[in-house]
Symmetry: C2
Subunit: 195 residues, 2 copies
Amino acid sequence: MKEKRTIQSVQKLIVAFFRASRRMPSYAEMIDILGVRSKSVVNFWINKLIDAGILEKDGKGRLTFTKRAFAVPKVGSVQAGFPSPEEESLCDIMSMDEYLVTKPDASFLLQVSGDSMIGEGILEGDLVIVEKGRQPKNGDVVIAEVDGEWTMKYFKRQGKQIVLEAANPKYPLIKPKTELRLGGVVTAVIRKYHQ
Amino acid sequence: MKEKRTIQSVQKLIVAFFRASRRMPSYAEMIDILGVRSKSVVNFWINKLIDAGILEKDGKGRLTFTKRAFAVPKVGSVQAGFPSPEEESLCDIMSMDEYLVTKPDASFLLQVSGDSMIGEGILEGDLVIVEKGRQPKNGDVVIAEVDGEWTMKYFKRQGKQIVLEAANPKYPLIKPKTELRLGGVVTAVIRKYHQ
DNA sequence: CCTTATATAGAACATTCGTTCTATTGTCAA
DNA sequence: TTGACAATAGAACGAATGTTCTATATAAGG
């Protein structure tokens, strides 16, 4: 009734620890994690994982995960057919954070209310990542204050005039008269379905 | 011309290291990171960060970030007005990964092609997170194989019959005749604007 | 000037780290 | 049974760890 240790099972245990603690376990801790009784056994399995390309050692000899170990596999497109586990082209997205939030210091999350950007696929309840202090390009989705109220709109130039346009025909075009306070540029949209 | 060290600047340096290396620096490494010449100075600042609630020590005395230190601040809704840095209600989203991918082992990413789910705010080029092996509820967005082709559709029950419906009127309702192979349930949508 | 508090330096320390060695156990085939 | 090999155990070791101590430099206030 002894379940054998495999590279996969060991990887799973260590990944679970890392996700929970946000750090690598020490060899001493891995004794308990892996259910063995000696650090040399831990070392044995660690070397296996290194050979398998799941772990690696950084410049200072510290154990780290390779991108492979952590990445959520990204497969082709929907229409291209469905993935078999083998052909999963492991993508280079190490973490959603790195992928989505390029400037953590200047970014914040905002929950969307209203349907003014529904044509852009931004629905009520979605989270958007907003980057402060960036100069918007024509057509960017921005957070802006108009007449004392904050809204999410397309940022567009009409000649020298700047206008704010909703992605919903039922909202009028906004031509700011005096000032236009920009809160930031929307760099990403996140929607999580309740489960 | 000496720039003073502050709690914020020290936090920033350590967070930067953590993001780059996915681990805490040792005190010896922090000597270089903080630009000081002694571990006792590092210890001095670390204690300050602990008092400030930015760092903490886990059960084994290991240094870890608190949720506060990492979270992208989440503020209210767009219409509710715009956030000032003070009123930022730091949200409990520690990382996008944790928030979006609840079952890392059973999930993968898929890039969307086509406009069949445009009514659901899922556009061409978006990434969706798909969870395998979950039983879909009525109205869930699923990846399914129909007549040898994979598509993304709403999963709906009509009595005992299961139908697949696009969120785009130009696509017909699909009533699978024989088999319905489910690839998974879409649990999240991610859109990143090119920058 | 002197006093006080803060920030930094450097050294010393016990503890823990990862590594490596030898020895033992278990498994499977011949 | 025997041999061969993989997996595990346990001990030993130098190196690195975080902590704590004393001492020095800097700045502000009286």
